[in-house]
């Protein structure tokens, strides 16, 4: 099988998964719309309006609720696929509301992923090659603290410290007023200035976990026979370290893209609320509280799509990286 065939196969698989997910989301979130009609009827009656049976039926027809549920799903799904996500309860088109937030979510997730690996891989290598040294113990200690601290708590602590010692409010991704401005160097710098706090918060636990993985697998690989073989050929330890054991120890790390990326995209809601980040999580949260179904469904769908893209990216990168996986799947 060629690589393009493999890609197509992954994409078909992804679409199937998304169809199943979308149906579930539709069932769970959209179906209670029947209650919405009841609520409208009740509300109008409370205002003294007289609602006839026909009025109610007309309302249901307006929401498409008179049709069988598969038809309802089909209508909704085709509309969504065309980018028509309907309106929020406040009458604003849903896509207007979420486009910017999609960008912020993807930006934060991808940067967090990169920072995680940029920190965890070198530290993991350091710890493994100097096992039981002072530095190794230090990073182990830091790692466990990182793992044990809940993200939102870390966010609160940072907020508090910055407020107390620098009088700064560090929430959001932009300084007040900057967000509405057109893109410029100043705006980009302002973004960078705000970005690193949420990155620290999001990345801490992730990095700690990845350091542990990297250290453990590298220690394992260092004891492998092929390391001895390479030494017996006359390789320098450093040449050998990066060409063989590090390369192999990176496998599970590369593999983890497939689940870390989706987790970054759809998780982090509490942190985003605490830090007032313009990502999808907080919007979903408030949409659910307000029972804004159109909006909530769209956000859930977008998150699912991004997560599935993350998984596929992870798969593709791993198959490019590890010939064993590539051959196993028949890609050559």
């Amino acid at each position: 099988m060629s690589f393009s065939k493999y890609l197509i196969q992954r994409l078909i698989y992804a679409v199937l998964v998304l169809i199943v997910i979308s149906f579930l989301i539709f069932m769970i979130v959209q179906l209670p719309r029947g209650d919405a009609v009841d609520r409208i009827v009740n509300a109008r009656q409370a205002q003294g309006d007289i609602i006839t049976e026909e009025d109610e039926a007309a309302l249901r027809a307006q929401y498409g609720l008179d049709k069988p549920i598969f038809v309802q799903y089909f209508i909704w799904a085709t509309q969504f696929a065309r980018g028509n996500m309907g309106h929020s309860m406040l009458g604003i088109p849903v896509d207007k509301l979420i486009n910017e937030r999609i960008a912020a979510t993807v930006l934060l997730s991808v940067i967090s992923l990169i920072v995680t690996y940029a920190l965890a891989v070198p530290i993991g290598i350091y710890s493994a090659t100097r096992q039981y040294s002072l530095g190794d113990y230090f990073w182990t200690f830091v790692g466990f603290i990182g793992l044990a601290t809940p993200n939102f708590l870390l966010a609160l602590i940072l907020l508090f410290l910055f407020h107390k010692f620098f009088g700064l409010s560090i929430g959001g991704l932009f300084s007040p007023g900057v967000e509405e401005q057109p893109w410029s160097l100043a705006k980009a710098l302002d973004l960078l200035n705000h970005l690193w706090i949420p990155i620290i918060v999001i990345v801490t636990a992730q990095t700690a976990g990845t350091i542990r993985t990297m250290r453990a697998t590298l220690l394992d690989e260092l004891g492998q026979q092929y390391v001895v073989t390479a030494r017996a050929k006359g390789l320098r330890y450093r040449q050998l370290l990066f060409k063989y054991p590090v390369r192999l120890a990176l496998n599970p790390v590369v593999n983890s893209i497939g689940y870390i990326l989706p987790r970054l995209i759809s998780g982090q809601t509490i942190v985003a609320i605490v830090l007032n980040l313009p990502t999808l999580g907080p919007l979903l949260f408030s949409a659910l509280l307000a029972e804004d179904l159109e909006l909530a469904t769209s956000i859930l769908m977008i998150q699912s799509i991004l997560a599935v893209i993350g998984v596929i990216l992870g798969d593709i990168i791993l198959s490019l990286y590890d010939p064993r996986i590539r051959m196993e799947k028949g890609v050559s």
Partner: protein
């Protein structure tokens, strides 16, 4: 004497462990000549691999200590490997070029994510080859020489795509790519089935005829020694208990341990149900070993008050044939 390639004198390799000092190699001496094969035989744990690793200076740096002499004879004079810095350039330069090694597990001895060609060519690059296409040509020719069909294709394959026999052939190619003068083979056929095993042994003999290299052949299989070795060192618990020409040792074994090993070789055409003799017990771990014959606790001819009071000295029982056992002192 001029064709002696390697001369090991009173080699000791100790591991410092929490439980004490593990004397994996405890005073062995032997030499290997050009175009000749020294077979090193003994049960699991007797120190064969550690001896080989000591010569290559690839024992774990953290807790191993080597003493004695490991003389590599070259036209320019002898160099004592035991005195070289194991990470130094001089030792690294000798590895692969002068002394190369084949390992028991061809599956794990290759990295699974680099092609075999990459790993074989690397030996050339490490030792100064700059021309990539020349290296590739050389390796393809070599793969062909060690009997790998379609070498132009195999060179770009990964070890897991090759059969066990192919992998071992590739490893042999990797070891001899620089024409080393000494080849150490640490149980190169143990992981292979019998037919492949004899093919590999024939290959090694042919290569030796062509290149004239000295071979140190490690195995626990005396049958393999019989087909391969010119000289034999029988090891037990970090010591060589009997040493001599292969023919001599098979014809007239002296040490009770050697006799036991020879009795336990399956005989061709042995009648069904005929019991193979085995040596009772297992090799103990040489942690702070007592000063006595190492074989004492398993020996059928043990003499109390003689065998358990000191290590028997090596006695020459015939020209070139020596034994360490009180029966011959």
């Amino acid at each position: 004497m001029s064709d002696v390639v390697l001369e090991v004198k009173d080699l000791h390799t100790y591991f410092e462990l929490e439980e004490g000092t593990l004397k994996a190699v405890n005073g062995v001496s032997f030499s290997i000549r050009k175009n000749r094969t020294l077979g090193v035989v003994g049960e699991s744990g007797c120190g064969k691999s550690v001896t080989a690793q000591s010569i290559m200076r690839i024992t774990p740096k953290k807790n191993s200590k080597i003493s004695g002499q490991i003389l590599l004879h070259r036209a320019s004079g002898a160099v004592d490997l035991a005195r070289l810095d194991e990470d130094g350039d001089e030792m690294r330069d000798l590895r692969g070029r002068e002394i190369a090694m084949i390992f028991q597990e061809p599956m794990t001895a290759f990295s699974p994510v680099h092609t075999v060609g990459n790993q074989i060519m690397e030996a050339l690059f490490v030792h100064g080859e700059r021309d990539k296409s020349a290296a590739r040509k050389r390796v393809i020719a070599l793969l062909d020489e060690v009997g790998i069909p379609a070498p132009e294709r195999r060179i770009d394959e990964y070890s897991f795509q090759l059969s066990g026999g192919m992998r071992q052939r590739s490893m042999i190619a990797m070891a001899i790519v620089l024409n080393p003068r000494l080849l150490i083979a640490d149980e190169p056929t143990t992981a292979l089935d019998v037919t492949i095993q004899s093919q590999i042994l024939r290959l090694m003999k042919r290569l030796q005829r062509d290149n004239g290299m000295a071979i140190m052949f490690i195995t626990h299989d005396l049958g393999v020694i019989a087909t391969m070795a010119d000289d034999v060192a029988v090891m037990y618990l970090g010591k060589i208990v009997e040493y001599g020409a292969a023919r001599q040792i098979f014809k007239d074994p002296k040490h009770p341990y050697t006799k036991g090993l020879i009795r336990s070789i399956p005989k061709f055409g042995a009648t069904d149900g005929a019991h193979l003799a085995t040596i009772e017990g297992t090799v103990p771990v040489p942690l702070d070993p007592p000063d006595a014959c190492p074989f004492a606790n398993r020996c059928g001819e043990f003499i109390a008050g003689k065998c358990d009071v000191r290590m028997p000295a090596a006695v020459t029982v015939a020209p070139g044939h020596s034994v360490s056992c009180v029966l011959y002192e």
